[in-house]
Symmetry: C2
């Protein structure tokens, strides 16, 4: 693997509650930022309903196309929690009750487990567990697919056991140049000129408007720190040459 | 169309800034709730990068599978704003400069428009405009696809001109029964029993945990108000029969 090779992941968010608008997803951006620190780019995301055919079809597509797939949601004990069944079906393997999960839950509940709780102990054959340091049973990994909880605090806890398993590429470095008081209509030409000179980089413009003013955040992203930083300087010069001032290099990499 | 027929939509969020985790999307839930009031169900969502092939392929798939597609993002004046080009390519038509948009922008900017601003006036042949009551040029509709801005305040303004064009089905009614102090492991069996008796309805369980306590929100969704409300009563009784109390019917439909 060269330092420039791109390693990609897709996120599949499983849940009618996201599609109904009832729940605002926050897992996507948390996963994107987290895997980014391991040099894995989030290349696509899908939000699918609690429907077996939809989940199986999407998962088989995504796991073939990207290096990794991370799913969230649908691993609880209720009838609408069908993720484990769907993942097993996608891989063409059976589910079994994982003895470690059974033991963990028996110790937690101090009683014989009912059928609903036993559902949460099911893991596809060939899968390994993903630790849950927060609450409840673990997630699992099978092949290049990581199956995590949907509850954000639990999902974030599980991610800590995903990162070390990722074979990432070079980490993307981002710098944000904030432009105050100029619209994208004026920024576009100098920005495009610099973007065309750096096909290895991604240059994006994200306008903002508020009562305090307007402008755009220009984000320069790439895997070569020196090129990214030189491009910030080059873009600043190109903007000033076009009569655009009010530039601030934001500290927080975007 | 019968009152039970389901009318579906997909959302396609276009933007590297969502996939990088830099920007937290809020458009999806806003669109889901808005189209829901017109009797259109959000059936799937995809988040795709600023990449022509990815956008064209996804759009052609989604517009064939669902009644409507709503896209957000990528309609500004900068080089990474490629949505109009991609939509035209997906439909196999050319883009043209819409005279109304040119006139609108000339009046706004009081000067000859530069090339970047003229980009925002481009609409696919056969398309119609979607009003932008907030700021900047309009979106457009072509066939069953609506192309909206990515900035949330502008996107929401444009949605007001989308709703009246939707031919929706019966509106989904949702009721949320909050259960305090019981875990999903105990709720699962009575919930599943009621869900199986009502295959026309969708019953979901969304657990919550906080320092104040734990429990789950049980959401009953369907198109027949009488059946939804009768099922709330039936589910409450089934939970109490299973020794589960702490039930509250939330006023806000979820």
């Amino acid at each position: 693997m060269t330092s420039q090779q791109r390693v990609t992941a897709a996120v599949m968010i499983i849940g009618d509650e996201i599609l109904s608008g009832r729940t605002q997803d926050t897992n996507l951006s948390a996963i994107a930022k987290y895997i980014g620190t391991y040099g894995v780019d989030l290349a696509e995301a899908r939000i699918v309903p609690d429907d077996e055919d939809e989940i199986v079809t999407a998962l088989n597509h995504l796991r073939g196309k990207y290096d990794y797939v991370i799913t969230t949601g649908g691993i609880g004990p209720t009838h609408d929690d069908i993720t484990a069944d769907c993942v097993a079906k996608a891989f063409g393997v059976a589910l079994y009750e994982h003895p470690e999960i059974i033991a963990m839950m028996e110790s937690r509940w101090k009683t014989e487990l009912n059928a609903a709780r036993r559902r949460m102990a099911r893991v596809p054959e060939g899968g390994s567990l993903v630790k849950n340091p927060v609450q409840g049973p673990p997630g699992f990994q099978i092949g290049n697919v990581f199956v995590l909880a949907g509850v954000p605090s639990i999902m974030r806890g599980m991610l800590e056991d995903v990162g070390p398993r990722l074979k990432g590429g070079a980490v993307v470095i981002a710098r944000t140049l904030r432009v105050d008081g100029s619209g994208e209509g004026n920024i576009a030409a100098p920005l495009e000129g610099v973007a065309k000179a750096h096909p290895n980089l991604s240059l994006g413009s994200y306008p903002f408007f508020s009562n305090e003013g307007y402008g755009s955040n220009l984000v320069i992203r790439g895997r070569d720190l020196a090129e990214v930083e030189a491009t910030v300087t080059e873009l600043s010069a190109a903007l000033r040459d076009a009569g655009i001032n009010g530039l601030t290099l934001l500290d927080t990499p975007g």
